[in-house]
Amino acid sequence: MSTSQANSLRNGPDERGRFGIFGGRFVAETLMPLVLDLDKAYTAAKNDPAFQAQIDFMQRDYVGRPSPLYLAERLTEKFGGAKIYMKRDELNHTGSHKINNCLGQILLAMRMGKTRIIAETGAGQHGVATATVCARFGLPCVVYMGTTDIERQKPNVFRMKLLGAEVVPVTSGTGTLKDAMNEALRDWVTNVDNTYYLIGTVAGPHPYPAMVRDFQSVIGNETKAQMQEREGRLPDSLVACIGGGSNAMGLFHPFLDDRSVKIYGVEAAGKGLETGEHCASLKGGSAGVLHGNRTYLLQDEDGQIKDGHSISAGLDYPGIGPEHAWLHETGRAEYVSATDREALEAFQLCSRLEGIIPALEPAHALAFVSKLAPTLPKDHLMVMNMCGRGDKDVFAVADHLGVTL
């Protein structure tokens, strides 16, 4: 049973872009008029059936949606508990869920008359998806990427270049996702007239967290319909990995009012929460303001942002989308974590048992599934978001396993 409109958890954010105390628009004055314009343009687009039709068409013929909801029989058997379904967003064009958002935003950018696209990327999945839609629609594309990430995600760097994007190495900070985001913001503030900043996750100033969530909600909406068709009912639990949290929000949001559905977000515990070397903003951070929104952040006692650590470049971000921060505080979703080592084990297990090489990011979700599923009855329906494929990670994984390629 869905709750009535007034009690719905799906109404956020408010007109200030807040989910409870989280979210908002904490940006420099130069950007503020742009952010307000974007809000207006997105609201208009959202209510235009032609815009939605354009997205639907491209999602079907270009991305390959709907992605399958796949019953992972061998993993189900192995864990001996809950029935495990995988939402196969790794089968999308470009190999991850990132394209869902990029498609929506580039169509919006063109509606707004913007002629240049910039983006930040960590693992390179969002960079590749952005470069892809830019190639498809003929817009120049600049992707900011930290030097550390460039080193560990070489295949994606080359992919972006093949697609015609310019990849700008970012050396500041530790050369990871947060530094790339700083640099993209500096570009945007300098090129306000023609440039559209295509943010890859459910973070940043309002309306980005809500807009990216809306574009990613296709994941959850499809899951709901597919589960209804397969099992004739709602799933009992949802599991997704969280860096900024866009794949998770896309899966979770359509189910927020279905209170029987348990929701689990899996953060990267890196070398272990107790070591301080992790990216678990909710479990190991506190409320703060960065990159345009208030949310949970990894920070020191002076409010300086700490660098995260994760084996997965895509989860290596010291913040988390503000709506997750709110779902955490209200208790609607439960946030847990998985370590580098657990993710590596899940990565190998999934490859061998299901013939699916997952990205290191969803390997974190699977690591939690491997703990939770055995404790649940066989009629428990669990959906795990397989949000990306692992081709990009094979070199890094080989390295961690001590294999020379």
Binding site: F26, L31, P33, R186, V189, G303
Partner: protein
């Protein structure tokens, strides 16, 4: 309430001079050097001092101020030490206004009320917080005003006439006009555009308008001073500080004196501007 900033700009007006506003980062390259420079700034011609609160992620700043922030944090800078610098400066100077400039998170993390009481107690006069637009005024701007601090807002080329009243509504002390779209220390502004922009802002407010971003030389500072109530120089001074660090990362002897000599040249540019114009 008349603040140090109000008094300073009122006096400069009677003297028909533009204000020379200097920016340095607190704790760059270390606490003692900052304190020495800070104490020497008024004598070197600074009318208003902006003291940067270091933050790991200075999103609106260019390479010069990013690097200065990194140097400061590496040398152990913190919000408490920044406030201590102000307190020590105030012990010997009760007239020169000090404005803290930076980002919201370190303030939020300390707690707004605690920060405000510590800042007023230390002798801070105003705040410039880059990532707090008027839409977020209830966060810090309104509490700061209640605490008797000026909240100085940035107006930019993207702030159009429709938006300007909202930006100016809770601004006090002065208005900081960011002369270019971009980050600190980047391209220099066109004087013609600056004059028009200052005139536009003055149609909406009686507050003094200081102009910054991209001013690097005494000549540029003089140009700006002819067209505005103040000229802000940051990155160029910060670069002069960076030049005082040897390849081993040590601060060279006599660093503060040489930095202050450079500040003096900039100050002469600003203060001589209107005299030159009148000739």
């Amino acid at each position: 309430m008349t603040t140090r900033l109000d008094k300073r700009f009122a006096r400069l007006k009677t003297e028909a001079r533009a204000a020379f506003v200097t920016f340095i980062t607190a704790g760059d390259p270390d606490f003692d050097t900052t304190l020495a420079i800070l104490k020497g700034l008024p004598a070197a011609g600074a009318d208003v001092i902006e003291l940067g609160m270091p933050f790991t992620d200075p999103m609106a700043d260019g390479p010069a101020i990013q690097a200065s922030t990194q140097r400061a944090l590496k040398a152990g800078a913190s919000m408490m030490k920044t406030l201590d610098l102000v307190r020590r400066f105030r012990a010997s100077d009760s007239d020169t206004p000090i404005v803290l400039m930076g980002y919201y998170n370190p303030i939020y993390h300390m707690g707004v009320e605690l920060f405000l009481s510590r800042a007023t107690e230390a002798g801070v006069d105003g705040l410039i917080v880059v990532d707090l637009p008027p839409e977020e005024d209830d966060e810090l701007c309104e509490p700061a005003m209640r605490a008797g601090l000026n909240f100085i807002r940035l107006a930019t080329p993207t702030t159009d006439d429709r938006r300007l009243p909202a930006v100016l509504a809770n601004t006090s002390g002065f208005v900081y006009y960011v002369s270019i779209n971009g980050i600190t220390g980047s391209a220099s502004p066109e004087t013609r555009n600056v004059a028009a922009a200052v005139a536009r802002i003055k149609r909406h407010t009686s507050l003094p308008v200081a102009v910054g971003f991209g001013i690097r030389t005494p000549e540029q500072a003089a140009e700006i001073a002819r067209n505005a109530d103040g000229a802000v120089v940051g990155s160029a001074i910060v670069d002069a500080i960076a030049a005082e660090i040897d390849p081993q990362g040590r601060v060279k002897p006599g660093a503060a004196e040489r930095v202050l000599a450079f500040v003096r040249k900039l100050a002469d540019g600003v203060h001589g501007a209107r005299a030159t114009a009148a000739e």
